[in-house]
Every structure is written in C-alpha cells, then in structure tokens.
C-alpha cells in the first residue's frame, strides 16, 4: 500500500466550474521522491495543495479520494483532517521571503507546531529546532532562533523553512517549487540540502517543479501534467530513456541546459499542443455528459 494515494481527483473553480484537475491519480510510497512536472497552470501545485488541504477558496474538489497513511482525508471532518495532515505531512513553500511571518521570531515559527499541535514540551521543541537548524547548515542557530525573518537572507530563510518542514518528522513533504524564487547559485545548494535531508529522514517527497533537470537529479518517479491531466507516469530512469507521450518527448527535447528564469518549457510543437487540446476537450465533453 502506498503512503500517499490520490485517486481520480478532480478539481474545479467554484464559480464557473472550469476544471483545474481532471481525474488525476498517483501513488507515492514511503520514502519515495515523486516529481510533478508541467507548465505553469498545468495544475501540478494544485495536487500538493489538495493533499495538504490548502486549496484556494475559489477551488473546490469535485470528486476523488486522497488516501494518506491508510485514511481517505476527504472523508474526515475539517478539524480531524487538519490534525492528521499536520501530524503526517509538511510543506516546503515556494517563496521563502513571504513564507515566514514577519512579526514573529524564527524560533517559535519552527517549534509552534510541535508544541501546539503535537503536545511537545517547549524545551524539547527548542532543542529539536536547534538540531535541525544545525542540520540545514545554519551557523549559530541559537542566535537565528531569536531573530526576525527580515534579518535573514533568502537562502537562510529557505533553509529555515526546510528545517521547519522536517521538525515533526513528517512522513510526507510537499515541496512546491522550492528553488524557483532563489538565486541560481543558491538553488543548487538548497536542492542538494533537500535531497540530503530526504535521504537521511526517509521522508516521502512530492516535488512540484517545472524543471526536468531537477527531476532527473532528485526524483525516483514522476508524473507529467498538462492542463490538469496526467499524460505520463513512470520511473525517472524509464522516462529519460524513452518517454512514451509525444508531449513528454517534446519537453525533453526542449529542456534547456539552464532553466530560464521564467521557467517556460516551450517550445513544444504546435501540432502536439493542438492534439492535447483536442483530447482534453473530448474528455470534458465525455464527463459533462
């Protein structure tokens, strides 16, 4: 049994019912790193948000199941669901500059979950935070714990967020484009750090990215998304050896050596896009009756 199992998940906008995810299924076993790849707007980060229960208000779940450690989260009442997800999963957010509360010191922002939700003693939680900050290679962690976010660099803050994500020893971490907002020089360090932490702690990782190069380095398996549909799912080895979907093949061909800052994966040939659009339209037709 997979640790995370998403079955036929369908998301749509609340007001005009425009679909965002169409019948998406994926499995992540314990300790596995699974990449979610696609262009912006493909719905890849919506999957992570749905798992963590932080979908925007404008989005609703139209169907499907999300099994986390043997329980379908969507059948739980909101409070129980929050508690379960809070204990089992964590998020490494995209933008470290906005993901730390500017009016609170770093220390409590790492330990609050341990104390408030998981019932640790404050001293234990602080000791744990100090360990983790050391593990993410922050000098003088005791001082950093007392500082405010604005006193730290973007790279430092992302390290803190990574430490914070691992604080409660979650079984699953969703990393939502964790390096996109950083300098190219820092990106590599952070990537290596996440991979190292993941390996040491044996955490399953759902890695959302638009960068196939990153996937090839960090992930074991991946799903390729286009317009809210999964086009291809396979192991990283098979995928890079021989992608089955023409869109994937085009993506691979188009992957530049260095990702450009916009993160665009184009150019994918027009003909393939047209075919995809037709497929999606046919799918929508079939499911709206």
């Amino acid at each position: 049994m997979s640790f995370l199992s998403v079955k036929n998940l369908t998301l749509r906008l609340r007001d005009n019912r425009a679909p965002l995810l169409r019948d998406v299924s994926l499995e992540v076993s314990a300790g596995e790193v699974h990449g979610l790849v696609g262009e912006s707007g493909a719905g890849k980060s919506m999957i992570g948000k749905a798992v963590l229960g932080i979908l925007p208000r404008a989005v609703e779940i139209a169907g499907g199941e999300i099994w986390l450690d043997g329980v379908d989260l969507l059948t739980l009442p909101p409070a129980a669901r929050r508690k379960r997800v809070g204990g089992l999963a964590a998020l490494i957010p995209q933008d470290p500059l906005t993901a730390l509360n500017p009016s609170r010191r770093i220390g409590p922002q790492i330990t609050d979950r341990l104390v408030d939700i998981l019932g640790w003693k404050r001293t234990e939680a602080e000791a744990r935070a100090l360990d983790l900050l050391g593990e993410v290679q922050i000098n003088d962690p005791a001082r950093v714990m007392r500082q405010y976010p604005h006193e730290l660099s973007g790279g430092m803050r992302q390290r803190i967020l990574i430490a914070s994500a691992f604080a409660a020893e979650p079984k699953l971490i969703v990393a939502d484009e964790p390096t996109t907002a950083l300098d190219v020089t820092v990106q590599k360090q952070i990537l290596r750090l996440i991979a190292g932490m993941q390996a040491r702690h044996g955490t399953a990782l759902l890695f959302v990215t638009h960068d196939l190069g990153v996937v090839s380095k960090v992930c074991q398996s991946l799903s390729v998304l286009y317009a809210g549909r999964i086009l291809e799912q396979s192991t990283v080895r098979d995928f890079f050896a021989a992608p089955t979907h023409p869109y994937s093949a085009a993506l691979l061909g188009a992957t530049p050596k260095y990702t450009d800052p916009e993160g665009s994966l184009t150019p994918v040939p027009e003909a393939i896009i047209a075919r995809l659009r037709a497929e999606i339209a046919a799918y929508d037709e079939a499911h709206h009756g």
């Binding site: 229960g53 997800v85 998020l91 906005t98 993901a99 509360n101």
Partner: protein, 335 residues
C-alpha cells in the same frame, strides 16, 4: 536613527503648535465688538471700558499682545477668563479629565467593536454575513458622530430610556472625588454605585463618538486581514494543523494591525475633535461644551486656551502613534 527621527518630529510639532497659536490669536482678535464692554454693567462709562480693556491688554497691537501672551504661557500663565475671571489654565485643566475619559472610553469601544467586526467578517468571508457586516460598516462610516448622538438620544434616552442622556453624573449624588477623573477614581475608591452612574452617563456620548471610528477600524483591519490571509506564511500555518481561528488571530492579525494603526491615529484626533459637538449634545461637562460657551460669550483668553490645548492633544496623539508604530514594527525596531 530612531532618536533623530524623534527629535525631528518634536521639531515639526513645535512649529505646528506655534502656527496654531498665531492663527487663533489673530482670528479671535478680529472679533467685532469689544468683549470687555459686555462684562460691565449697562451704566459703565467710556473710561471704565478703557481701563478694563487696558487691564486685559487688549489696547495694545496684536503682535505686542501675542508676545505678552507667549511670555505668560512660558510661565504657565494662559491669562484670565473674561466671563468667570478665573485663570484659564485652571478652568481648562478642570474640564480636561472629563473630555479625556470620554475620548478614551470611545476609543476603547471603537477598537472593540471595529475589531470584532473585522475578525467576524474575515472568519465568515464569502458568506451573506460578511456582506451584512460590510453594509453596516459602510453606513456607520458615512454618518458622523453628531447624527449618531441624536439617534442614540432618541433610541436609548426617549424610546427605551435605559441610559442617561444629559450631564456627566447625576447632580444629586455626593462626589468624594479629589481628581477630575471620575470614571477612574470611582473605581479606585471602590464606589461602584458612582461608577455605574458615571458609565451610564458616558455610554451614549462615547458610543456616538465610537461608531464612525469603529467602522473605519473595521474596514481597514478587515481589508488588511484579507490581504494578509493570502500570504504564504498563513497558508504554511494551515498545513501545520492550525484551525481558522488560530490562523486569523495569531498569524494574520499581528501583521494586519500595523497598517491599520497609522490611520487610526489620525482618526482618533478626529474623534477628540468630535467631542466638541457631542458633549454639547449630551450636556456633558467637558472641554468641548466649555469651548462652545466660551465662543458664544466671546471669552477670548478661554477660547485661546482651549484651542491650544486641543492642538497639543492632537499633536501628542500623532506623536504617540508614530512611536507606537516604530516600537511594534520589528523591521523598524532593528532598522
């Protein structure tokens, strides 16, 4: 950095106060008619008028009068009231506590009502209740304290007479107070009977003053909560297992308060300015009521003293808010 800013602020404050003093001084000396003439009995001679005018220094040129007045002020002498013949400073300081208590009570009410409105509106966002709160806010915002005061007089003074709508305290009561701060002193002396009577007198005028400010606080705070609720650290806090109430009050609120605070400072001075007419409306014996009487009686030294005192209070409030903002904002504290 911080001290430099503080000194600069105090400098501009001083310039503002001098400007206020000059303007009041000039404006009230353009008053047609000799106020001294009104003080004397009908049979007084020209010479009597001249003597009294000289006594109050009103025969000198306006700049000369101003200099004399400033000299006095620097020694704590704000002149003598023409109508009551008591020192202006004593009169003004005697009424100040009443107005301060009223303003502070109104501020506290405004913060509580506005805060609750903003938090409830944020908690219930997207529902019909949020729309209702917005509409109520909009109405409260566009109607000034004067009209709210009248509406409250009708509602709770006449229709359902549960509160007092006139005066500061029931006149027949024996007051053991040594300070003018009745509300606080009655608490200190554990005289809860007096305290209840005072609160019952203050509640309606304070509410009239509080409603527009509450609406502004409600609107600003809700707006800034709404912006804050979309930020990543709030989302991140949700993934940790926290519920909506915790997310709003612990993560979003502290950051949403700052932008509200700066605007509330200016608005609080508007509230204090509003005490003038609201005190009149409720016959509340504060500075504002005295000011209107002083204007009607052409009591120049008294008017001058009251306006200057109001200006001092206004600039002090703005200064305090600025300092508070610096203290509360970690970015500036370490800047």
């Amino acid at each position: 950095m911080f001290w430099q800013k503080l000194i600069a602020r105090i400098g501009t404050t001083a310039v503002t106060l001098i400007g206020v003093a000059v303007i009041v001084f000039v404006v009230i000396r353009v008053v047609p008619g000799n106020p001294v003439a009104m003080m004397l009995p009908p049979g007084a001679t020209e010479a009597d008028v001249a003597r009294l005018t000289a006594l109050y220094g009103l025969d000198k040129s306006i700049p000369a009068q101003f200099l004399i007045w400033v000299q006095g002020v620097l020694q704590g002498d704000f002149g003598t009231s023409i109508t009551t013949r008591q020192p202006v400073l004593d009169l003004v300081l005697g009424r100040l506590p009443a107005t301060l208590e009223l303003s502070i009570m109104a501020l506290v009410m405004a913060v509580i009502i506005g805060g609750i409105a903003a938090l409830t509106g944020t908690r219930l966002r997207g529902t019909k209740a949020e729309g209702a709160i917005d509409v109520a806010n909009g109405m409260a915002l566009s109607v000034p304290d004067f009209l709210w005061g009248l509406a409250l007089i009708l509602l709770f003074g006449v229709l359902v007479p549960v509160f007092h709508i006139s005066g500061r305290v029931t006149p027949s009561l024996d007051l053991p107070f040594t300070t003018g701060f009745y509300l606080f002193e009655s608490l200190f002396r554990l005289r809860f009977d007096l305290w209840a009577d005072i609160v019952s007198h203050m509640l309606m005028p304070a509410l009239a003053l509080a409603i527009p400010l509450a609406a502004i606080i409600g609107q600003l705070l809700k707006q800034s909560l709404k912006e804050t609720m979309h930020l990543d650290y709030v989302t991140l806090s949700r993934t940790k297992g926290y519920g909506e109430n915790h997310v709003i009050t612990r993560e979003a609120l502290p950051n949403a308060i700052l932008p509200t605070l700066t605007l509330v400072g200016v608005q609080f001075t508007f509230l204090i300015g509003g005490t003038v007419i609201v005190e009149r409306l409720f016959s509340y014996e504060g500075l504002g009521n005295m000011a209107i009487d002083a204007v009607i009686n052409r009591d120049l030294p008294l008017i001058q003293g009251i306006v200057i005192l109001f200006a001092v209070i206004f600039t002090a409030v703005n200064l305090v808010v600025d300092l508070l903002y610096t203290v509360l904002n970690p970015r500036l504290r370490h800047g």
